[in-house]
Amino acid sequence: MTPTFGLIHIQFLLQGAVLTLGLSLCAFIGGGLMGLGIALCRVSANPALRGVSSFYIQMVQGVPLLVIMFAGYFGLPAMGLSVSPLVAAILSMTIWVGAYLGEFWRGSIQAVPKAQWEAAECLALSRLQRMYHVIIPQAVRNATPGTVGFMVQIVKNTSLASAVGFVELTRAGQLINNSTFQPFITFSVVALVYFALCYPLSAISHKLESRLARGMRTV
């Protein structure tokens, strides 16, 4: 007898949702650190650093995230490094998030007017001091709404980790559907949980955006 969709399934989906959230968080932290490094390399005075970071961004942006996942999960073991679905997923997401946030943050840094650089330079601040005290604080302000908005993409794209067997929310839905044969109710609930995770992020992003539009200062 096939079981019908019930409380036990919802509980299973919520467990998946917790893992989705966990993977999103890891991807955001790992990718954020990666992205910060990439962004700083992209605006570096060193042409080699600029070249390498630019190549990295081009590569990642030109390859589907699913393929990056497969390359991690099936490719690394072929090279003698066996990885669990979780590690493969975190690694792939970090690479992917790093490239997108890196490029976005580079834009935010370069959106700070050149006159600000000049003023800081004329006050005898070193390149590092200029970056830290003058440019980055203004770039962070520019970048915050878009970064929060991008977190929605991260949450949704963790669903691709289901393809390498990581039982997050989407994979949990698939497993339930395999036993209940009730795709409509199952994936409706899955969709609802994704929405519940993403909607607050979108709302915060929009709020930050309008606040930024009202004035430079966000105190």
Partner: protein, 258 residues
């Protein structure tokens, strides 16, 4: 050692220690456009030099060259004992000696007025916090903005922002101050309050080079007026030169400005 010879020769080329800024046969090109075609002038300690001339005459570029915001194509610039064309020039030491104020103020919008002023004394000169606060208060008093200590730039009028920018430069205790059309973005009333601050600085003996379109102010304050035209120094003289221009170009320029 070639460097030794250069530094030993410098007092001769700059004609004594009283010359703070020296430009000799300075050329500057942007791509194929030659903006400065061999300009020369000197600024002595405690003197006010005013650069005037029509748009595109190269006066702002000349001023920016003095703070090495532009590198020159040919010629010689010495500023406070720094040879700006030397390969081993220490830019940060140059910037400690030179203060510059821009047309668009360029205050840091995420910092309060006081933080703007204290940033460089704290991070570059490693001044302790309490001393930096005292310094900021002193400099703000000098430009008449004591009550704006904790304000953000966006809460200030254009004239107040420009005075705050002047205070920020003063806090570094520069040996020479450069002013690049600092009142061009201001209406006449706000222009007046900024010019009064600059005039007080001049009275206190600050060495200054300024690019301006305020001819009456230039006449009153300048020890030396440098009239630039088509990338060349066309005419140089004391402030009174503006009452009796020698060249038809300066005559035409003054007729147009006034």
């Amino acid at each position: 050692m070639p460097e030794m010879t250069v530094s030993q020769n410098r007092p001769d080329t700059s004609a004594g220690n009283d010359v703070v800024v020296l430009l000799r046969n300075v050329h500057k090109s942007f791509a194929n456009l030659e903006v400065l075609k061999g300009i020369s002038f000197e600024v002595k300690r405690g003197e006010v030099t005013v650069l005037i001339g029509p748009s595109g005459s190269g006066k702002s570029t000349a001023l920016r060259c003095v703070d090495r915001l532009e590198t020159i194509s040919q010629g010689q610039i010495d500023v406070c004992g720094h040879n700006l064309t030397a390969p081993d020039l220490d830019l940060r030491k140059l910037r400690l000696d030179v203060g510059i104020v821009f047309q668009s103020y360029n205050l840091f919008p995420h910092l309060t007025v006081a933080e703007n002023i204290m940033l460089s004394p704290r991070t570059v000169k490693k001044l302790p916090k309490q001393q930096a606060v005292e310094l900021a208060k002193h400099c703000l008093a000098q430009v008449g903005l004591s009550e704006k200590f904790d304000s953000y730039p966006e809460q200030l009028s254009g004239g107040q922002q420009q005075r705050a920018a002047i205070a920020r430069s003063l806090a570094m205790q520069p040996k020479v101050m450069l002013f690049d059309e600092v009142t061009s973005a201001l209406d006449p009333q706000l222009t007046g309050e900024v010019l009064r601050v600059i005039e007080r600085l001049a009275d206190d003996g600050m060495t200054m080079v300024m690019v301006t379109h305020e001819m009456n102010f230039a006449r009153r304050i300048a020890d030396q007026v440098v009239f630039m035209h088509q990338g060349k120094v066309w005419e140089t003289g004391p402030g009174s030169m503006l009452d009796s221009p020698a060249t038809p170009e300066l005559q035409a320029f003054l007729a147009h400005e006034l």
